[in-house]
Amino acid sequence: MTETNIDVRGETCPVPLVECRKALRKASSGDEIIIVGTHPASKKEIPMACEAMGLEVMDIDENEDKEWKIRIRK
C-alpha cells in the first residue's frame, strides 16, 4: 500500500477535483490519497465524487484556517 499526498491549497474550481481524480487513477486498489486544500466547495465535492465512484472517504478534517484534509482509500 502506498500513500500519496496532494497539495491543492490556493487552487480553485475545478483543479482540486481534477488533481484528486488524476491521483486516484494512478493509485492501485488499497492505496491511500491524502489531499489538502482551501477551496470551500471542493471539501464537499471530493467526497461526492468518491461516493459516485464507490470509493471510501476515511477522514475529513478542517483546521481553523479553513484548510481541509481528506483521506481516501481506493
Binding site: 490556493g10 487552487e11 480553485t12 475545478p14 484528486c20 465524487a49 459516485a52 465512484m53
Partner: protein
C-alpha cells in the same frame, strides 16, 4: 456502463470554452466519461495556439474586457485553458473535430492541434456519442 457527458462546443468565446472544459473535467473527475464535439466557432479554438484566443461573449470591448477578466482570473488563481485541456486529455476525455466546419472554413488538419483530437466526424458521430449520455450540453 459508465455514465457520460457530451458537450457540443459551438462557441469560440473564451468564457464559454472555460465553461465547457470545466464541466467536462468535472464529469471526468466524478468518474464519468466525457466527449467534446468542437464545431463552428468552437473549432477555431483547436487551431494551433488558438485555445485562449477567443473574445469574451459579453463586454469584450475590443479586447480590453478580456484583458481585465484574464487579470482577475490570474489573481483568483484560475487554471489556464491549456492546463484544463491537458487534464481533460490525461483523464481520458475525447475530443471530436467537426469535419463539415473544417470544409466550410477551409481548415486543414495540419492547422489544428492534432495531438488533442481523437476523432474527426460529423453529426452521426455526435449522435452516437450523445444517445447514451446522461449529460448533453450545447455551449
Amino acid at each position: 456502463m459508465t455514465e457520460k457527458a457530451v458537450i457540443i462546443v459551438h462557441s469560440g468565446d473564451l468564457d464559454k470554452i472555460y465553461s465547457a472544459l470545466i464541466v467536462a473535467n468535472g464529469a471526468l473527475s466524478m468518474g464519468m466519461e466525457a466527449s467534446l464535439f468542437f464545431t463552428f466557432w468552437g473549432l477555431q479554438r483547436l487551431k494551433k495556439d488558438g485555445l485562449d484566443k477567443g473574445p469574451l461573449s459579453k463586454m469584450n470591448f475590443l479586447g480590453l474586457g478580456k484583458w481585465m477578466v484574464k487579470n482577475r482570473m490570474k489573481k483568483a488563481n484560475v487554471a489556464s485553458l491549456e492546463k484544463l485541456m491537458n487534464d481533460f486529455k490525461e483523464l481520458g476525455g475525447k475530443v471530436i473535430a467537426c469535419e463539415m466546419t473544417m470544409e466550410i472554413m477551409g481548415i486543414e488538419p495540419e492547422q489544428l492541434q492534432q495531438d488533442w483530437i481523437d476523432e474527426y466526424g460529423a453529426v452521426g458521430t455526435y449522435v452516437m456519442e450523445a444517445r447514451e449520455a446522461s449529460i448533453n450540453l450545447f455551449i
